[in-house]
Amino acid sequence: MSKARIKEAFASSKAFIPFITCGFPDVETTIAVVEAAVANGADLIEIGIPFSDPTAEGPVIQGANLVALQGGITTDKVFDCVRVLREEKGIKIPLVFMTYANVVYSYGAEKFMSKCAEIGIDGIILPDLPYEEKGEFDAVCDQYDVALISLIAPTSESRIAMIAADADGFIYVVSSLGVTGTRSEITTDLGSIVAKIREVTDVPCAIGFGISNPEQAKKMAGIADGAIVGSAIIKIIDKYGKDSAGPVGEYVKSMKDAVMQ
């Protein structure tokens, strides 16, 4: 069901995938921003469960994590937020979590995934869980039909086929070296990475890291099946605070239009 729902999100057109840190600056804003993103064409949403030490994030998302944690967000409160989105707000598109291995491990992987299944989370991205370590979470993810999303990086090279062959849900193609954050230019040869992935799987590929404007989004959608944007959205929420739903909605619309071109 979950994996089918993710596949469907990429089926009709190129996908636009916003990332939103849950609880930044508060849960009410997160709910309003997700609704606005969905109303304006988001195909799938990554919901970030804040972590104290997000080693794959640049300063923008690090800052959002800190504010959310200081505001009292917890894993259980994130689950409650998703429950509201699914049950009260009627959000139907796929939702995936993005967090760090310790958040899941500490909660208990089985308990965590069973909650995901219960509230309607379709997948999970753990940037500090490479291919070699995913065995630890694979079985329990399968058991609860939560896709464990694989990442492929510009440095993956000979590892691409191995990772892609085992991929689930969609493949998160990391556009650039370094951490998350907006970049003026993306220089990686993403076309050849996606081509190598295509040789072994038809699992959809979405490109993330560094994308902020419609022009970049359009280019990425030309190479892959979708574009993921995090830091640029977090910057909007940082600027507008509790009044972010409108500006995020407009931004999502402009990005969705760009990927559809």
């Binding site: 030490d53 080693t55 894993t75 259980d76 491990y105 500490s106 065995g135 990086a153 993956s156 990391v174």
Partner: protein
């Protein structure tokens, strides 16, 4: 499915972003090649002996022994190494390895500044570029070491994120490594992080216990009854323990920083207060809250102010082979002053944690027992902070 590598019991592994995986695989392959390469080992041995001043002395602390009235106490004098701590052992090994791998730039994290200074030193010696990440809080606590690193030609970047201490410096160094891999080696300073770092750092630090063993056999004709070292990430401790792990009669004792006490939140005693988790590339014990958020730990010692412990130590704890005790700030400061007055040796505040435990432990043993305390570093860097702790404001 490829198997997880670098396990010590359930601990260890490689929990890092995909972007870094080929870099750690390349490092592992290079290390496996060079560790058996006679030329590499000859060069490293020469650097150890001629540059770092090894072997370090095993000194009989006669006054301390008599004062405490129990076991005979030896001090393993890593504080006498060039740059003033055990950190140089690992850094010379890694810098030489990085150079052989064709890397031209070293990055490092540092807490007290000892590892940063050692890395800056090796970079200067081997003609490499060097950038050191240091928590902003620690740059204030250890201003002298910041100056030393800059003097040696390194760039020091104060890290403002999180608690602005050692864990944040590690996070920032990892972020920088994902940003620039081709020409850069991350010279990790402790037996932590993703495989192969815990193994590489342990191997380079194991010279400490190799020498203790030889020196003890020469001086006493037998092995010690216990070896004691302070533990943050655990590099001088694993160096002190490693060659005694199979000698079951030698007690292995690690001294963690309890800060203001293990019953407070202001502590960095991982084994005593932490639980199993995944962070900074490894599975091990970490100080964390019920949701797995890493705790903002505290110790007077910047070098022990870290919320985790190396995976091999976690496993030595699980198996019961090593014992990990917690020492408070107060006990460490007392020991800092005690060793200075008693033996004329000013230990690093980190090493003072080991001295503090020995002060409690030695009197419980009979006079025919022998214990070795590793003095991992010299305490000059700590004088201003300890003076402040005692209410005296001195300017360096």
């Amino acid at each position: 499915m490829t198997q997880s590598k670098g396990r010590f019991g359930v601990h260890g592994g490689q929990y890092i972003p995909e972007t870094l995986m080929n870099a750690v695989i390349e490092l592992e392959e290079a290390y496996n090649h060079y560790k058996n390469d006679p030329e590499f080992n000859r060069e490293l041995q020469e650097l150890f002996n001629e540059y770092a001043g090894r072997p370090s002395r095993l000194y009989y602390a006669e006054k301390m022994t008599k004062d405490l009235g129990g076991a005979k106490i030896y001090l393993k004098r890593e504080d006498l190494n060039h740059t003033g701590s055990h950190k140089i052992n690992n850094v010379l090994g890694q810098a030489l390895l990085a150079k052989k791998m064709g890397k031209t730039r070293l990055i490092a994290e540092t807490g007290a500044g000892q590892h940063g200074v050692a890395t800056a030193t090796a970079a200067a010696l081997l003609g490499m570029e060097c950038v050191v990440f240091m928590g902003e809080e620690d740059t204030k606590r250890q201003a002298l070491n910041v100056y030393r690193m800059r003097l040696l030609g390194s760039e020091v970047i104060p890290v403002k994120s999180g608690t602005a201490t050692l864990k944040d410096a590690v996070s920032e160094a990892m972020r920088e490594w994902t940003n620039r891999i081709d020409d850069t080696h991350y010279c990790l300073g402790s037996v932590m992080g993703p495989h192969p770092f815990p193994t590489i750092v342990r191997d380079f630090q194991s010279v400490i216990s190799k020498e203790i063993k030889e020196q003890m056999l020469e001086k006493e004709g037998r092995l010690p009854d216990a070896v004691i070292a302070c533990v943050g990430g655990g590099s001088n401790a694993i160096g002190t323990f490693y060659n005694f792990i199979e000698d079951k009669d030698v007690a292995l004792i690690g001294c963690e920083a309890a800060g203001r006490g293990i019953d407070t939140f202001e502590t960095a005693a991982t084994i005593n207060t932490g639980r199993l988790g995944i962070f900074h590339g490894m599975k091990s014990y970490f100080c964390q809250d019920e949701y797995g958020q890493i705790a903002p730990v505290y110790s007077i010692s910047a070098g022990l102010d870290y919320p985790g412990i190396g995976p091999e130590h976690a496993n030595l704890h699980d198996s019961g082979r090593a014992q990990y005790v917690a020492i408070t700030d107060d006990e460490a400061v007392d020991a800092f002053e005690y060793l200075s007055r008693t033996e004329g040796i000013i230990p690093a505040i980190e090493s003072a944690h080991a001295v503090a435990y020995a002060r409690k432990y030695a009197p419980t043993l009979s006079k025919d027992k022998i214990i070795v305390i590793t003095i991992s570093g010299r305490g000059d860097k700590d004088c201003a902070a300890i003076a402040r702790y005692r209410g005296e404001d001195i300017t360096e």
